[in-house]
């Protein structure tokens, strides 16, 4: 038995290493005093400074933040409603509507949103289209998290409240909402992270206007790879890392709720 455990441990550690080493390399090389991501040539913050002077990049960061905040706000509101609805009304179609954007290949989502915006809504692509697009797939995530939280709750609390004479609004406001607040916060942070990181859907719905952070990174990767990419990557990683840690503090069940 112990022998098998050891074998499992060894393989697992290798897998963990596989997951982490590439990222560690990116971070380490962001401090590398060399243009090539090859050998270590000395410690420098030069690339981070270059980032701060890169106007495109700063603009992209600002835009991405605006989008992420708006999208996560909208998605959290709508997603919470969706999660509540799915939990309340047992219709089969509701989960399908809310969760489809989460499970399908992003290309399809991007394409259909693109066509939808242009053909049906006649909307010029720009910040607004990106915000709507991000909201769309974030709603599903928030709904999953909220629903998972609701499923774990004891129904009798609500019944007790109603027995004591609370109106539906009071029940919702004073009981439901506080109870699912961790899930809502986790959902909001999750949406924010997804929005900041999103590449494929943004790529399709962005139009020709302002720069967005992941797109900037993509362009840098394709055109001229310098350790500036490492630097911005490290910063992004720090940001999303912090957010995810905070999110899971609020709602650890979210970790299990990844799959439908």
């Amino acid at each position: 038995m112990l022998h098998r455990q050891t074998a499992l441990w060894i393989v697992s550690i290798l897998v963990y290493a596989f997951l982490y080493i590439p990222l560690i390399i990116v971070v380490v090389f962001s401090f590398n005093d060399s243009k090539l991501n090859a050998e270590w040539a000395g410690f420098t913050l030069h690339w981070y400074k270059a980032l701060l002077n890169n106007h495109e990049m700063l603009l992209a960061a600002r835009n991405s933040l605006i989008i992420a905040i708006s999208a996560s706000f909208l998605a959290t509101t709508l997603g919470t409603m969706a999660g509540l609805a799915i939990h309340r009304y047992k219709l089969k179609v509701l989960p399908i509507l809310a969760f489809t954007p989460v499970a399908m290949p992003e290309v399809l989502l991007g394409v259909s949103l693109l066509l939808f915006f242009l053909q049906v809504l006649n909307l010029t692509l720009g910040m607004l289209s990106i915000i709507i697009a991000h909201t769309t797939f974030c709603i599903g995530f928030v709904a999953i998290i909220v629903r998972a939280r609701l499923q774990g709750m004891d129904e009798s609390i609500f019944e007790a409240a109603r027995d004591l004479g609370a109106t539906p609004w009071q029940t919702f406001h004073q009981i439901t909402l506080p109870l699912i607040r961790p899930a809502i916060i986790a959902g909001a942070l999750m949406s924010f992270t997804l929005s900041i990181d999103d590449f494929v859907i943004t790529f399709f719905t962005k139009g020709v206007g302002e720069p967005i952070l992941p797109i900037q990174i993509y362009t840098m990767i394709k055109v001229a790879v310098t350790p500036e990419v490492n630097a911005i990557s490290t910063l992004l990683m720090l940001l999303t890392l912090t957010l995810i840690i905070i999110a899971t503090r609020f709602d650890t069940s979210m970790l299990r709720g990844e799959s439908k």
Binding site: L19, A38, T100, T193, S233, I244, S259
Partner: protein, 267 residues
């Protein structure tokens, strides 16, 4: 409780048969199945589809192989370690998608330590040096790397629910550890494997960023093709046709997976 679903994307299905070409190129109006004929006319499109399926299959299999031991270990660990271990699995997922791909560009790049190492060994045997990057190998690694957490988590969720009593009973009846695994753990874990596979296989089918960045010119997949049609050549009807093909493939695969992923009663 207000349920809003109006934000979901609209259906793009209608465009494939309708020749509307926004952009500089003007097209004739009216419905036609021309694009579908075009799709089937040249074998290369089907070939790309098949290639994408192959990549998805290999990615899924490799993910299963790598995820299973880890998921098993976490499921069997003490409760207080489990959350930490799961967190460690999820954290890399927190980094930007592009960053994770970019990391492999560094590792597999021609100037990297790994390349020097491998080429050194090859040179010892008199074999010409190989480029690790911009190859199907790189694409595969990238795909596995990005999707591994999606396989680990559902598998873990499933394995966690297994009752160790069954294993004890089997041991009492004289089964060795391989038999215990194969006859008890494995069958029970199948729904988890299928859930995880669905979360890996389907997104991989539609991926384009990984082949785009890590692959060579011969490694394009369906996703690249679609993206090019929409944002490159602006042949929207054809792009839509491709998208519909992909959707059908996805729906078919998803249907298959969900049939197998439904929880079955343990032995």
């Amino acid at each position: 409780m207000v349920f809003t679903s109006f934000r979901l994307p609209g259906e793009f299905g209608g465009l494939a048969p309708i020749n509307i070409l926004p952009g500089e190129v003007a097209g004739d109006s009216g419905l036609t199945t021309e694009t579908y004929q075009f799709f089937f006319s040249d074998f290369i499109y089907i070939e790309i589809f098949l290639k994408s399926f192959a990549v998805a299959t290999f990615t899924t299999l490799i993910c299963i192989a790598m995820a299973y031991p880890l998921a098993l270990l976490i499921a069997r660990s003490r409760k207080k370690f489990r959350n930490l271990m799961i967190m460690l699995v999820v954290l890399p997922f927190a980094s930007n998608f592009l960053v994770r791909i970019y990391a492999w560009m560094i590792i597999l790049g021609p100037e990297s330590g790994l390349s020097h190492f491998i080429n050194g060994i090859l040179a010892f045997f008199g074999i010409a040096p190989v480029t690790l990057l911009f190859s199907p190998f790189a694409v595969l690694i990238g795909m596995v790397y990005v999707h591994l957490p999606f396989m680990i988590l559902p598998l873990y969720t499933n394995l966690e629910k297994h009752d160790p009593i069954l294993l004890d009973a089997a041991q009492d009846l004289g089964a060795n550890s391989w038999q215990r695994f194969w006859y008890i753990t494995w069958p029970q874990s199948l729904p988890g494997i299928f859930s995880g596979s669905a979360l890996v296989f389907i997104p991989v089918l539609g991926m384009f960023a990984i082949p785009d960045i890590l692959g060579g010119t011969g490694d394009i997949m369906i996703g690249n093709l679609i993206k090019d049609q929409f944002l490159g050549t602006r042949d929207w009807p054809f792009g839509s046709t491709l998208s519909i093909m992909l959707t059908l493939a996805v729906l078919g695969t998803a249907g298959l997976f969900s049939r197998f992923a439904r929880t079955r009663n343990p032995v």
